[in-house]
């Protein structure tokens, strides 16, 4: 039983630029990798292992000898290089978009992405110069996730399928609309990433040392703010898991045959299970750097997937309304 209405035909007159789309996709994938590398820096407590910026131990960043990439320097300097690479990709992406895409709003989006990546680089420098102040480190972490969403949006809006026109669906379910539900889920994930960044940058990751209980209880005593932030992150995990479960059930019941919606919802469920396990192992292994970093990167993937689902939901349902 399909409740979907598919509309053929293009709603956009722009020519397809597969090269630009693939490049945007590559930028998004590189950004996901950069977030993982950034997680490695924090997890290995290496954020200040290179005390100068933008130089590295007095060297130009790009000529710093590999033989000196020891200990924490490997992670911090590696992060700077991967970040520079992503910055370089973003410059190309913005330039390409301005040259080849006539849509004004996507040009503006590419420019905002470029400004964001430059800001992100400056924030990274400030974290070094000012010895990791929590507000700047948190902003750096959240802007990374926001920028990741921008690259996903760039890849999405330059995709041939979007330009050709996505199939329209009928959102006949009573209650909250599908786009709103997806948006709320994305918002919950973003909030959870904020809590995660806060926890990480205030050294609260092991403030509650046991899991699934908290100091042997369901609700711990809030003896200091580290415990509070940590516990809030655990509660956030339940909220996110609940929102993703709700989204998935909605998709499974009403849109099982709409692959553009159902697949990301299914991926979200798989990712959230993996993420919960990674969160548990982060505690059980006392913040093993690799596990903690994969946890950070998986968080970004959940946000990215949920964001893509939201974009699709808004595109497909909104067009149905317009079409009607």
């Amino acid at each position: 039983m399909s409740r979907n209405v598919r509309v053929a035909g293009s709603l956009h007159e722009e020519g397809e630029n597969v090269g630009l789309h693939r490049f945007a996709l590559f930028t998004a994938c590189s950004t996901a990798f950069l977030i993982f590398v950034g997680g490695l820096v924090t997890s290995n407590r290496a954020g200040l292992s290179v005390p100068d910026w933008p130089t590295s131990y007095g060297w130009n960043m790009f000529t710093f000898p590999y033989s000196k990439w020891v200990g924490g320097i490997f992670y911090e300097h590696g992060h700077r290089l991967v970040a520079s690479f992503v910055g370089f990709l973003t410059v190309i992406l913005a330039s390409w978009t301005w040259l080849k895409d006539t849509r004004r709003w996507i040009r503006v989006l590419s420019l905002v992405a470029l400004i964001s990546v430059i800001t992100q680089g400056i924030l990274g420098g400030l974290t070094v110069k000012y010895l990791l102040p929590t507000p700047i480190s948190m902003t750096h972490a959240l802007l990374a996730q926001t920028f990741f969403c921008m690259t996903i949006a760039m890849a999405y809006f330059t995709s041939p399928s979007w330009k050709r026109g996505l199939p329209n669906i009928q959102d006949t379910h009573v209650g909250i609309s599908l786009p709103k539900l997806s948006l709320l889920t994305t918002g919950a994930v973003y909030l959870q990433l904020l809590l995660g960044a806060w926890m990480r940058h205030t050294e609260s990751g092991l403030a509650i040392p046991d899991f699934p209980l908290a100091f042997g209880r369901l609700i711990p005593e809030f003896t200091n703010y580290h415990v509070t932030i940590h516990f809030a992150h655990r509660m956030g995990a339940i909220l996110v898991a609940g929102m993703i479960a709700w989204t998935f059930v909605r998709m499974y019941v009403w849109h099982q045959h709409d692959n553009l919606l159902f697949r990301p919802a299914l991926i979200l469920v798989i990712l959230v299970f993996a993420q919960l396990a990674l969160g548990a192992f982060t505690i059980w292994t006392e913040k093993s750097p690799v596990i903690t970093s994969v946890h950070v990167a998986t968080g970004a993937l959940i946000l990215g997937t949920s964001f893509l689902l939201t974009l699709r939901a808004y595109s497909m349902v909104a067009r149905e309304a317009k079409w009607q």
Binding site: N44, R45, A46, G47, L48, S49, V50, P51, D52, Y57, G58, K68, V70, G71, G72, I73, F74, E76, L131, P133, T134, P135, W198, T202, I219, F222, Y225, T228, I229, F231, A232
Partner: protein
């Protein structure tokens, strides 16, 4: 439940502002470094004792230095809790109150050294008087960064990229105590206590300590990086000696 939520909200907001202000609450009424109006006190008395460790000493945790082949220190172990002959090492012992009013002390000029050797700080804990010079030296064939996590004094993070590089630091405020860490080698840490007066020391082998001070009655505090702090009182006469012992338990 409601109270819990309110607590979470308020503490969450406060968390933003919580990256500073970890100042030790005690305030010593001494003259401070270099004098504070009274006559210069003579350190003619001695307080000595032992920091005992109760219970089974923890097995030193082996540290892997494999992330930097230049460290060449395969036998490195954690110095978080070092117990020898039943005594706890690396405990900072200092006068935290008592007959200090009206006394002043000369500025300390003796150069103390914090050496980075084998990707390891020597000593692990040290004390300074306000204004006393501290030489931080890199004796390794690798790069270190010296990152002082001071809260009261000005924190700093400086690179020492090669063997023989040294820097001299002075701290202008009393602070008990702050870690110095190397972020290149994340196992490296040392602890520094800075005092307004010269009445401080660090426990050594067997947890033994000895401290020179003027005659009088004093509150003495012993603080350890992970095991907390304890306070005792001692009275000592001119040219006299008094014993003061502390006992720390594993956490």
């Amino acid at each position: 439940m409601r109270k819990g939520l309110v607590t979470i909200s308020l503490l969450s907001l406060l968390g933003f502002a919580a990256c500073g202000g970890n100042k030790d609450p005690f305030d010593i009424p001494a003259g401070g470094a270099g004098g504070g109006g009274g006559p210069v006190a003579n350190l003619t008395a001695t307080v000595k004792g032992k920091i005992a460790f109760e219970g089974t000493a923890p097995t030193p945790k082996k540290l892997s230095t494999s992330s930097d082949p230049n460290c060449k220190n395969p036998n490195l172990v954690s110095e978080e809790v070092v117990v020898s002959d039943g005594g706890l090492e690396n405990v900072i012992v200092y006068v935290s109150g008592g007959d200090l009013a009206g006394k002043s002390f000369p500025a300390a000029t003796e150069l103390k050294t914090l050496d980075q050797q084998g990707c390891h700080y020597i000593p692990h804990a040290l004390t300074l008087q306000v204004g006393q010079p501290l030489k931080i030296l890199n004796s390794d064939e690798t790069a270190h960064n010296v990152h002082a996590w001071a809260m009261v004094n000005m924190p700093f993070n400086e690179s020492q990229s090669s063997k023989g590089v040294e820097t001299i630091k002075k701290f202008d405020k009393e602070e008990v105590m702050f870690p110095v860490r190397c972020d290149v080698h994340n196992w490296m840490n040392a602890f520094v206590g800075v005092f307004n007066h010269p009445l401080h020391t660090v426990s050594g082998k067997g947890g033994a300590f000895e401290m020179k001070l003027p005659a009088g009655t004093y509150e003495v505090t012993a603080i350890h990086e992970t095991l907390g702090k304890q306070t005792g009182t001692v009275t000592v006469a001119d040219n006299g000696s008094a014993d003061l012992n502390f006992t720390f338990k594993p956490k």
